[in-house]
């Protein structure tokens, strides 16, 4: 088979089994777009801004576990995608970005729409390539997919100069099936001796805690994690990125940990003598002040990326390996050892945790005549019976969703945890809805975040994506306002957005249905109506209490045992 470079790009995507490409055309990728036009195997989704393309591919990847793909042009096309690429990088999401580049002979001459894409993206990709020869194109794309999806996943960018896609230059095409890179061999198994040591530590522990992160979801290891929790009876907490890997409605789940985690999770972290960290990276939002982190614990850390281990917190028993494989080995060794944890001390430990839980740290004023954002999320949970794929933007609404919408399955909670990208939620939801056309998909957002990628409402219209936008409208950049209230004596510097649009009319001008809810009593009915419209995008503008804050909270520089529960309830 003889193909041009442009045809090779498209054929390689077909050979990779790619379903959707999210993109936006431009000069440098015109040959590729012509090849896209001439086939119907790979479906192209036209976004309205390249940031949306990257987020949509990202949302698709998070929901399916497959590699997300986007296609952008050179110069501004690539730079617009950078925020989305960095978002995927921080959360280790498998993604391949194909970017057009000016023709090879003019690279470096400041040509029209030229930018050093490989240079600009280098710090926020797992790897990137500049293809300088059409004969290297297929192999490079294969490498990109392999690197993006193996080991610790991440975005890989392939920069393709226009002349390498010339439709008049045809070369023989064969897509390489197997690829091996001498310089890249991700760990495939944990060290047996280390795992043995970890199991011994777990069985000897008196106050153990399992702390899991996004790595469990990325490696599809939820069922194994469930087995581990059942086998040991240990309490389990999760990071923002790991929510849903273990059912959040189950008793052994003690809530999210960290800055806005539950009192019981954070106190358990402070008191534990054996921390079992699985696919989590000890992010600063999780650890609080490092010197005060888990002061009594022996720490076991399972991670596929050796550089995550002992990066922020020194670990006692490191295990480098894929989460699923290590958990399998761990379970086998536990079984062989008779799986006999310290039952008596474990019972005492649980009694202590239940006491912390009884404080009910996630309570809020249910009698308010304003819609509390927590109430809005709880209502969303009831109306959708916990079945949603829920994407989120960044800020207070994100924390309220994480606290009040318990996910019982992995890949249902989709948000930008590492980079904290406002504008992520709507395009990510598009990717999810395309992957699962029959599923209920919603984006919880705020009036500040949603405006950052509002243009994607047009994409939703074009492809008939019936997702629901639940916008918690408090008239502020809520999390910024909260910090200004706490730490800047309520000087609300530029956290209030004047001149907000009429969101109902805005949604309708894009061809969707807009609804505004202002009273708590109207909320459930409105949400039922919205989710009842199965073939329409409904944009719900929920006017919430503008002064509500996210609690509990650990202020920056504090330890897990130094939480604020609410203004009324302070703990000694």
């Amino acid at each position: 088979m003889e193909l041009s470079g442009a045809e090779i790009v498209v054929q390689a995507l077909i050979d990779e089994g790619v379903e959707y490409v999210f993109g936006y055309p431009g000069g440098a990728v015109l040959h590729i777009y012509d090849a896209v036009f001439k086939q119907d195997r790979v479906k192209h989704i036209l976004v309205r801004h390249e940031q949306g393309a990257a987020h949509a591919a990202d949302g698709y990847a998070r929901a399916t576990g497959k590699c997300g793909v986007c296609l952008v042009t050179s110069g501004p096309g690539a730079t617009n995608a950078v925020t989305g690429i960095a978002t995927a990088y921080m959360d280790s999401i498998p993604m391949v970005i194909l970017s057009g580049q000016v023709p090879t002979p003019v690279i470096g001459s400041d040509a029209f729409q030229e930018v050093d894409t490989v240079g600009i993206t280098r710090p926020c990709v797992k790897h990137n390539f500049l293809v300088q020869d059409v004969r290297k194109l297929a192999e490079t794309i294969r490498k990109a997919f392999y690197i993006a999806t193996s080991g610790r996943p991440g975005p890989v960018l392939v920069d393709i100069p226009k002349d390498t896609t010339d439709p008049n230059v045809k070369i023989p095409y064969a897509y390489p099936r197997e690829i091996s890179l001498r310089s890249y061999r991700p760990a495939s198994k944990g060290h047996p001796g280390q795992i043995k040591q970890a199991v011994a530590a777990m069985l000897a522990a008196q106050r153990p805690v399992i702390y899991t992160g996004g790595g469990v979801i990325l490696d599809d290891a939820s069922h194994l994690l469930g087995e581990l929790v059942r086998a040991t009876g240990f309490p389990i907490t999760s990071t923002l990125m790991g929510l849903g890997a273990y059912p959040m409605t189950e008793r052994r789940f003690i809530g999210m940990l960290g800055m806005h985690g539950t009192y019981e999770a954070n106190m358990a972290m402070h008191e534990t003598d054996c921390l079992i960290a699985i696919g989590a990276r000890f992010d600063d939002r999780v650890t609080g002040k490092i010197e005060l982190f888990c002061p009594h614990a022996e720490i076991i850390h399972v991670d596929v990326d050796p550089s995550s281990i002992s990066k922020n917190v020194r670990v006692d028993i490191p295990i480098v390996g894929p989460v699923a494989s290590v958990l399998e080995d761990m379970l086998r060794l536990l079984k062989e050892a008779g799986c006999d944890p310290n039952r008596e001390t474990l019972t005492d430990w649980w009694a202590q945790i239940e006491q912390w839980r009884d404080i009910k740290c996630l309570s809020y004023d249910r009698g308010s005549d304003k819609i509390k954002p927590q109430f809005a999320v709880e209502t969303l949970y009831q109306v959708t019976k916990g079945e949603l794929y829920l994407t989120s933007d960044v800020g207070q609404h994100q924390m309220f969703a994480a606290q009040f919408y318990p996910f019982d399955r992995p890949r249902r909670w989709i948000n930008s945890g590492g980079l904290g990208t406002m504008g992520f939620g709507l395009p990510a939801a598009m990717g999810v809805q395309l992957a699962f056309p029959e599923a209920q998909v919603a984006c919880v957002s705020g009036e500040a975040s949603i405006l950052m990628c509002i243009q994607e409402l047009a994409t939703c219209r074009q492809y008939g994506l019936p997702l629901k936008v639940i916008m918690l409208n408090n008239g502020y950049m809520g999390m910024v306002r909260q910090w200004q209230e706490f730490f800047y004596e309520s000087r609300y510097s530029h956290s209030y957005v004047d001149a907000l649009p009429d969101f109902v009319q805005l949604a309708e001008s894009f061809g969707h249905i807009g609804m505004r809810v202002e009273r708590p009593g109207d909320l459930e009915g409105a949400m039922e109506a919205a989710f009842g419209m199965q073939d329409r995008l409904v944009f719900l503008d929920v006017v919430v209490d503008p002064t509500e804050n996210v609690y509990p909270m650990i202020a920056a520089g504090k330890g897990h045992h130094e939480m604020h529960l609410s203004p009324e309830r302070e703990l000694a």
Partner: protein, 163 residues
């Protein structure tokens, strides 16, 4: 503490900037960095001198290993090794100073590799301290220009850093 790290990496365009970018992005200290292709033209060998406490050095090594282009890495400071650096110095060498400069060159087993009526270029290879000592020994005010390569290193013994 000072560490000297050898890295074997793919001789690809941009490999060097990945290493340099890693150090600046993560705020690691970089004292010197030398790189050139090896006998196998598809491989580059880099010698990198850095400093930091043990935790930072550990992270530096892990982050270097994580780069897709990195094939192997060896912290030479962990074992017996040899370091060599090349120095070239341009000195003012007018009649009155020529003899003393030549004596110094002999003492340090350096070489004069360029001569004019009023200047020498001196070449010297050795460990960094020896080069420092030579520069200190040149009488004040005579040095016009100094260029150093930064150290290259290799481990002692039969074991090699190879594929």
């Amino acid at each position: 503490m000072r560490h000297i790290i050898s890295v074997l990496l793919e001789n690809e365009a941009g490999a060097l900037s990945r290493v340099a970018g890693l150090f600046s992005a993560r705020g690691y200290n970089i004292e010197s960095l030398t790189v050139a292709p090896t006998d196998d033209p598809s491989l580059s060998r880099m010698t990198l001198v850095t400093a930091g406490d043990e935790d930072i050095i550990e992270q530096i090594k892990k982050q270097l290993n994580k780069l897709i282009d990195t094939i192997k890495l060896l912290d030479l400071s962990e074992g017996p090794h040899i370091e060599r650096e090349l120095l070239m110095v341009k000195v003012r060498a007018e009649r009155a100073d020529r003899e003393e400069l030549k004596r110094l060159v002999d003492i340090f087993r350096a070489k004069i590799i360029d001569v004019t009526d009023i200047s020498f270029v001196v070449e010297l290879t050795g460990a960094a301290e020896k080069l420092d000592a030579f520069i200190d020994a040149v009488p004040a005010g005579l040095i016009t220009e100094v260029v150093r390569t930064g150290p290259s290193g290799i481990s002692r013994g039969a074991q090699g850093l190879t594929l």
